[in-house]
């Protein structure tokens, strides 16, 4: 076992279990044996919100925080941006998004692709839909607050990395009467979303929404893998706690391998 670094075997096993279960879940989904997922209100709210913006003739807004494209949270935001941009192009809703410097290129590409796919490439231009309001946490927030007041969006979607600034943006958005949807895995951001937003995706729900937002059955099916992971974890921890109650440290020793 000298190939493995010390203390990393279990790490690797968990990675393997999670990967294989994801692959299995998509395999079953392709065969048409996907399980139904429980409804997540925020998911339908995104589609509904774009429709509402179209009725009111006001723009839709989206941001994943300031992270770069190497962060999975921002990628979840990009998956949602893809769908939102397509919907906005379809319904002729002006789209406004704010990205950090590391995700700016990807966002521009996704929005441009969405407009091209809907046959309206002339509506897109760089720096029109996708804005960069500096990488600084509060400078970006202030810029967004000002943007809300001037453009009065009807839908605000925040999916990605958010911290204390969430209270600020959330309140600024509520002030212009926008429908607000938030999602993050940052523990500090979630409660602030809960008190300012209409729909909140708590923690992992964000990844589940990112997977099922396209309503592609294979991706929806892959959510089952996440449940398998948690069931594995449930069993590990219950066995571990029971072992500890009896006075055996076997699980701790096993997991630290």
């Amino acid at each position: 076992m000298s190939v493995f670094l010390k203390g990393r075997i279990v790490d690797f096993l968990i990675l393997a279990v999670l990967s294989i279960s994801t692959w299995l879940a998509t395999y079953f989904a392709r065969k048409g044996k996907a399980r139904e997922i429980r409804p997540i209100p925020a998911l339908d709210a995104i589609y509904e919100g774009v429709g509402r913006a179209a009725e009111m003739g006001r723009p839709a807004f989206m941001t994943p925080g300031a992270g770069d494209v190497g962060s999975a949270r921002v990628i979840a935001g990009l998956a949602i941006l893809d769908v939102m941009a397509t919907q906005c192009a379809k319904l002729d809703v002006p789209l406004l998004t704010v990205f950090g410097q590391g995700a700016l290129g990807a966002a521009e590409m996704i929005v441009a692709e969405a407009y091209r796919r809907e046959g309206k490439p002339e509506l897109y231009s760089p720096g029109k839909q996708v804005l960069f309001l500096s990488g600084d946490q509060y400078a970006r927030t202030a810029g967004e607050a000002g943007l809300f007041q001037r453009e009065k969006p009807a839908l605000n979607v925040f999916v990605g990395d958010f911290y204390s600034e969430m209270l600020y943006i959330g309140e600024a958005g509520a002030r212009v009467g926008a429908m607000q949807i938030g999602g993050t895995t940052q523990q500090l951001g979630i409660p602030l979303m809960a008190i300012t937003m209409d729909y909140v995706m708590i923690g992992e729900e964000m990844f589940a929404v990112a997977a099922s937002i396209t309503r592609d059955p294979i991706q929806v099916g892959s959510i089952m893998a996440q449940d398998i992971g948690k069931i594995v974890l449930f069993s590990i921890s219950i066995i571990g706690v029971i072992a500890m109650l009896v006075g055996s440290k076997i699980m701790i020793d096993l997991l630290s391998m």
């Binding site: 946490q137 509060y138 204390s164 002030r175 500090l188």
Partner: protein, 284 residues
């Protein structure tokens, strides 16, 4: 009788739709009044703040303290109350202070705090205290290098003077010469636990209320000696030290007293109003 009831319901429903601007105006008043007339509300000192105070009090003469932390300028304001109280406490002790910033904002903040507390008036720059330059590359790279060879890592201080010319570095060069590490800021505690704690250098943290809960495991594991809890901890520390030029913690606790009662009152009004409106709807 009926009329009166109707009137009271309309007051409640009016209270529901009060303009936000009025609520904010009252907030501003509640913040400014204690500044003008400080009531100095009494509050007890937490055990953890007391432990920090006692520890610093018992520091031997000639101790070398490194102040290394990271954070954003504006957020450090919350922890600055405790940090300034700390500077005030060590001002009259025979100790040396080395400021080693782990972020660009701390590079500007910590010398500023030294200036505000008057620490620089009592102590001589170069001999008793010094500000090192910010070294880019992240704490994972700079901290291990700092612990083994300060002069090799930093070369010059923030004003461009070579470290060999500064008298303080005649005796100080590695972890062996450091008595205490303090961290004013927020997010550097995990890196400190990883790279400073193994050398048995005790760490004191002045952290935000948010991180106070999050970093508790490091105290339990003995990697960090103790932390203060945000602005409340700062207020407690100020109380122990007696006085700092800003008194930020004490003043904020005064405001907090009024502010928290105000929010509680607002929430009660909002809840009664909701129930009243519900009743009204039921009647109709």
């Amino acid at each position: 009788m009926k009329k009166e009831e109707g009137a009271s319901v309309s007051i409640w429903s009016k209270a529901q739709s009060v303009r936000a601007e009025w609520l904010w105006l009252v907030t501003l008043v509640l913040i400014i009044v204690p500044l003008a007339v400080p009531p100095h509300v009494p509050f007890t000192v937490n055990q953890s703040t007391l432990r920090i105070y006692e520890y610093v009090k018992k520091l031997p003469d000639g101790s070398v303290i490194v102040s290394g932390g990271s954070g954003q300028w504006a957020f450090i304001y919350e922890t600055s109350a405790a940090f300034m109280a700390f500077l005030t406490q060590i001002k009259n002790k025979d100790v040396k202070l080395i400021i080693f910033p782990l972020s660009t904002d701390s590079l500007m903040f910590e010398p500023w705090a030294v200036k505000v507390t008057g620490f620089d008036k009592v102590k001589e720059y170069g001999k008793d205290w010094v500000v090192l330059n910010y070294v880019p590359g992240g704490a994972d790279i700079t901290l291990p290098a700092f612990m083994t060879n300060i002069r090799g890592l930093c070369r010059t201080d923030v004003y461009g003077r070579p470290l060999d010319e500064l008298p303080i570095f005649k005796t100080v060069n590695s972890y062996k010469d450091i008595t205490l590490w303090v961290d004013c800021g927020a997010n550097s505690i995990p890196s400190l636990a990883r790279y400073v704690a193994p050398y048995k250098v005790p760490i004191l943290g002045f952290v935000h209320s948010a991180y106070y809960g999050m970093f508790q495991p490091y105290i339990a594991a003995g990697q960090v000696y103790e932390m203060t809890n945000g602005i409340r901890g700062g207020g407690e520390y100020e109380k122990l030290v007696g006085y700092t030029p800003w008194n930020l913690g004490t003043v904020t606790m005064d405001s907090y007293q009024l502010y928290s009662i105000y929010i509680l009152a607002l929430v009660i009004i909002a809840n009664i109003g909701t129930q009243m409106l519900k009743k009204e709807e039921k009647k109709q």
